[in-house]
Amino acid sequence: MPLNPAQPSANPGVKKDMEAVAALDRDAELMLRVREGDDTSFALLLERHRGPVVHFLYRMVQNPSVSEELAQEVFLRVYRSRATYEPTAKFTTWLFRIATHLALNWVRDGRKEKGQESLDEQVVDGVDRQVRDRQPTIEQTMLHEVKMTEVRRAIDALPAKQRAAVLMHKYEELEYAQIARALSCSESAVKSLLFRAYESLRSRLAHLAG
């Protein structure tokens, strides 16, 4: 449901910006169009990034309704700040920076305890649906669920910054530099965060091997 129809950009400043970001990415170009009032481009951005953002936040907070609420806030902030958007980096870096900031704030504010579903509960996961299609045995399903609970617990046990770094590295496939910008730290700090996080995960999930 776009709010405004697409409009060709006649603003020379925008043209210049677009040339500057041509090499950067298509998303930044779309965002510049949003800045000019083209809400169709916003719909396109939403279509492209809705899934990754919601899934990243879901893995951060491990609560489906909270993750969607936070994702709504992310896109609302993107839309709200369209007028001041400057394509200084990749759009995804900016987007995940906002998402990480909101998720870390949520974790820091201790809202986690209030909104968290018990990890022992049967969380409505995509996994459930996938295994059902392949008609696994009850034993396989249970085994898979136990494994997933262990994975969720291991991720949840990581310090929030390490968790965010792992999720952006593993699932969103962001580069070290992008993760560094999202977490407002240096690239070497990101590598150190990741190494420590994976070290913890290796020791926590070692018993799942085999």
Binding site: R50, E68, Q72, K170, Y198, L208
Partner: protein, 163 residues
């Protein structure tokens, strides 16, 4: 090649190998190293186990009405009075405003003001000190000075014809 298990700085190659983001040349070089290094082989195996376990974790699908709810919020926000939109932009920015940035010109202004005041205010050292008060003068010293003065003064001439 440096062993990633021995040097933390080289640990990145281990992560990149498992993430399959190394170039073919780097991959070949690292695989050659893996054949010779038992520590690295164990670490790669453990890391790949973790990688596989994380891979299996699929999040639930996004709600069908996600976009509709978002657009409703946007429409609601746009219908709000201008001052409320302005407040939202100020208090809920996309990213936190780095307050240290505003601190730089503020500090510079304070420093300039301090320097200006320092330059325009006469220095304490250059201000003439007030004269000592009489009550602080040592009486004995004054008496001594008067006596010395008397000694230096020639005795008065006797009037002629007085003898």
């Amino acid at each position: 090649m440096n062993c990633p298990t021995k040097r933390n700085e080289d640990a990145e190659i281990l992560l990149d190998y498992c993430a399959q983001t190394l170039s073919p040349l780097q991959t070949a070089e690292f695989e050659l190293h893996l054949k010779q290094c038992a520590d690295c082989s164990r670490l790669v195996e453990a890391q790949q186990e973790v990688w596989g376990a994380l891979e299996a974790w699929t999040p639930p699908p996004v709600s069908i009405n996600f976009d509709a709810r978002l657009y409703a919020r946007i429409t609601q926000e746009q219908a709000a009075p201008a001052w409320r939109q302005w407040l939202s932009r100020i208090f809920q920015p996309a990213l936190p405003y780095p307050f240290w940035k505003s601190a730089i010109p503020l500090t510079a202004a304070c420093a300039l003001l301090t320097v200006t005041l320092y330059v325009r205010t006469p220095d304490a050292a250059t201000v003439p000190q007030p004269q000592l008060h009489a009550d602080k003068v040592d009486i004995e010293q004054v008496e001594q000075a008067l006596e010395d003065f008397d000694i230096l003064t020639p005795p008065a001439q006797a009037p002629a014809g007085s003898m």
